[in-house]
Symmetry: C2
Subunit: 160 residues, 2 copies
DNA sequence: TTATAGTTGACTAAAGTAGTAGGGAATTAG
DNA sequence: CTAATTCCCTACTACTTTAGTCAACTATAA
């Protein structure tokens, strides 16, 4: 089982999309700035998210990505699956040929664990996250920081 | 978060100990044969398990490893922690400096997930696993296979 | 027509996994 | 005593994944 920066970045970026969606697409450059994630890396992640039908893209100036469904209808488990292959905890991928073609001693344990994790992450939608107080607070802080950075850029203190 | 063959091997090996313990120590060579895990790799894992006080060792002929506590008092979470560092799902290790020194959008989500997994794996003891039907069945099959292999060795059909 | 923004593919450094190899050191059965 | 057994320890390695860079290309809006 893997749960690394890859899956966490994907969820964070999708949440950023859900938070900042005002009907218009959001560019990866914006997400990159707000969430401090490498732009090129985001491109790779969103390529997979698009293939899985979680987001749709608009090219050209003013373009970007939008959620392709309501935030209520996208759960965290889907997002991690989309970029990470699986959140399966077994070694055999659930097939049961773990130990020399036969089921291993702990096969059912890992199946149970996989179910637990999957149920938990399936029960959490982007809309559910958006509604959380701790998420709103972080989002507001990020918007304040971004506004300040833009001001600094404008008066010439930020760039080269 | 990591849950790989390493942690699974450790739990499987500890369960083998719990199943086959008849007061006398079990050699890693036995576990290696029964569970089809490389002996050298088992040695590395048991080095950590011993450092964490989960098993105690007896050297010399007839030696091996024993659980250093009752099987009721050893949970799966401990075993994985012992070999794997942690089953923490956050990027920051729980410290909260995930994104540029500040808490990230999804920090609390990963904390909640870590709690879920930890609670689940803490609720399962080796004794609990030993009592499961699916575990007993696999263990019996493994014992049958081992007996057959020993017979083959004895009549000279197995070795060099 | 030009800057913007997505799309794609190749590449890379670093880290972790799953081992292998080989030499010890303690202990005990014979 | 000695030889076999078993734990103990270190170093090494092939492989995979992660996280990220770079460069070229396509669509599109202003």
């Amino acid at each position: 089982m893997r749960l690394t920066t890859k899956g966490r970045y994907a969820v964070t970026a999708m949440l950023d999309l859900a938070l900042n969606a005002e009907n218009k697409p959001i560019s990866l450059a914006d997400i990159s700035r707000r969430q401090d994630i490498s732009l090129s890396y985001l491109e790779q992640l969103f390529s997979k998210l698009r293939q899985q039908g979680l987001v749709s893209s608009v090219r050209g100036p003013g373009g970007g990505y939008k959620l392709s469904r309501d935030a209520e209808a996208i759960c965290v488990a889907e997002i991690i699956d989309a970029v990470n292959e699986s959140i399966d905890a077994t070694n055999c991928g659930g097939s049961g040929n773990c130990s020399d073609g036969q089921i291993c001693l702990t096969h059912h344990l890992w199946c149970d664990l996989s179910d637990q994790i999957h149920q938990f992450l399936s029960s959490i939608s982007l809309a559910g996250l958006v509604a959380r107080n701790d998420v709103r607070e972080v989002a507001e802080r990020q918007n304040r920081e971004r506004d300040r950075e833009q001001t600094l850029e404008f008066i010439g203190a930020g760039g080269a």
